[in-house]
Amino acid sequence: MFRPYRRTVQVAFFALMFAIPVLNMYENYTITGTYYALQVGGLEAADPAAILQAVFASGEFALPILSALLFPLLLALILGRVWCGWMCPYHLLSDGAFRLRTLFRAKLLGRHETEILAVPSPLKANFCRYAFLLGGTAAAGVIGIPVLNFVSAPGILSTEAMILVRQHALSIEFGFIATIILLELLFFPRFWCRLFCPTGACLSLIRAPFTLRILSNAKNPKARCCKEDACSAACPMGLAPYREGPDLLCTNCARCIDACSDGEGSKLLGFKGFFLS
């Protein structure tokens, strides 16, 4: 089961948002920054979407920031888009909203079937988020301001945590997080990560043949391998993991592996990648 590990990592990264400003208040600067850009013991790691914005807005490519891309891109290259499924603080909130929604649907409306997400086709969902990323980057280049940072959920959440710790207040940007989480709760579950998030869109582009991915061991990977289709029901990105594991939307969250069962204790779905063949 991957779920306990994933939750531990998610909660750890959520707690880190609050721990960084606390450490900094006691003048311990081993870790500084927010999830827009972190510095851990001299090692830089920045949100690729934010860096893309800064490069386009300023028109400068020889920036010291390009080195800050190394670590996030290396992580994405080896482990795939794990930032989204395993680390992003917004994804944890989104998971919570989705669970609440499922609970309310079952308890209040008596509807137990798996919900169909907005824009069900993975192709269209990918198109939507890359159009958003491209449009935002173009806008940043035109007006000279990294505009997509105003809607970067992990960065905003991390900044709000810092403001909360330091100044015991919240800024106007918290309204944005509240709005998208309410929208996910009430109308469009999982819509932000699937259809818009610029950070996720950037990270999914970093792919190689050896990148960690979900693959099925079934003889015919194109066909559905069991009747239950539990993996498709579990997937937060609306994929059919038995055949769409390598899709750009996949976050390697391993929910499908947890859900997969052939009734005999072994699983057809599994990770394939850098360390695993």
Partner: protein
């Protein structure tokens, strides 16, 4: 590149080492790292508009103490990472308002007149006493009158400590605020007028001295030098009529 979000306000400064404002707005990814490491809590976060999330120092509540903790940490170079020398910071330049400054009032009115009201002159000199770079950024003329010098880095400690209320007698104009191409109506009008005149006259506007060149030439004019020989095609009488 446009000038969106470029608003300069008195006593609203970018952190030390900030690049030129237009570039700063493009480079700053609002990660707020500078704000986090500031040990004095001097750096604030802009809360509205296009500058939302970018760092500012508001010296009338908390000035920058030039510890230089933030400059090296900026991940995008919106703050110059190489800058470690507080003397080389140029956040802005302080400006003294002689109508409010206690020392200036004292100097102007040796005996405080009856109609001065609450404008009390006094030997204050707080700005000089708190300045981290005394005699480099600010000096006392005749040991009495504070005068801001070229070395002022614009940290704003004088603003924070200035005793006059509600308005401070010393305020910092942020770097970039006084850019000549942004000064507005009168400058543009004067330039247009100059160009028109240059076209009508013999001077080619492209070759005419402008900006710093013109300023340099004007500064070289020396009143004590021998007078220039002018053509004066009139005869002067021996007597002058009163």
């Amino acid at each position: 590149m446009t000038r969106l979000g470029l608003t300069f306000l008195e006593n609203r400064l970018r952190p030390p080492g900030a690049v030129e404002e237009e570039r700063f707005m493009a480079l700053c990814i609002r990660c707020n790292r500078c704000l986090e490491v500031c040990p004095y809590g001097s750096i604030r976060r802009a809360g509205w508009g296009l500058t939302l999330g970018t760092p500012f120092v508001l010296p009338d509540s908390k000035a920058c103490y030039l510890c230089m903790a933030c400059t090296g940490l900026c991940p995008t170079g919106a703050l110059d990472n190489e800058l470690t020398d507080p003397d080389a910071v140029r956040m802005g330049r302080a400006k003294i308002d002689p109508d409010i400054c206690y020392s200036h009032l004292f100097f102007d009115m040796d005996v405080v007149p009856e109609d001065a009201g609450d404008r009390i002159g006094a030997l204050c000199n707080t700005c000089y006493n708190v300045c981290p770079l005394p005699n480099q950024a600010i000096t006392l003329k005749n040991n009495l009158l504070p005068i801001v010098l070229e070395g002022c880095v614009g940290c704003g400690i004088c603003v924070e400590r200035c005793p006059t209320r509600p308005r401070r007698a010393i305020n910092v104009l942020p770097a970039g605020m006084g850019k000549t191409d942004e000064t507005g109506f009168h400058f543009r009008k004067a330039r247009k007028h100059y160009e028109e005149v240059s076209v009508q006259g013999e001077t080619d506007p492209k070759e005419a001295l402008k900006g710093t060149d013109l300023l340099e030439r004007k500064q070289k004019i020396d009143a004590s030098a021998p007078a220039t020989d002018f053509d004066f095609p009139y005869e002067l009488g021996d007597e002058t009529e009163d």
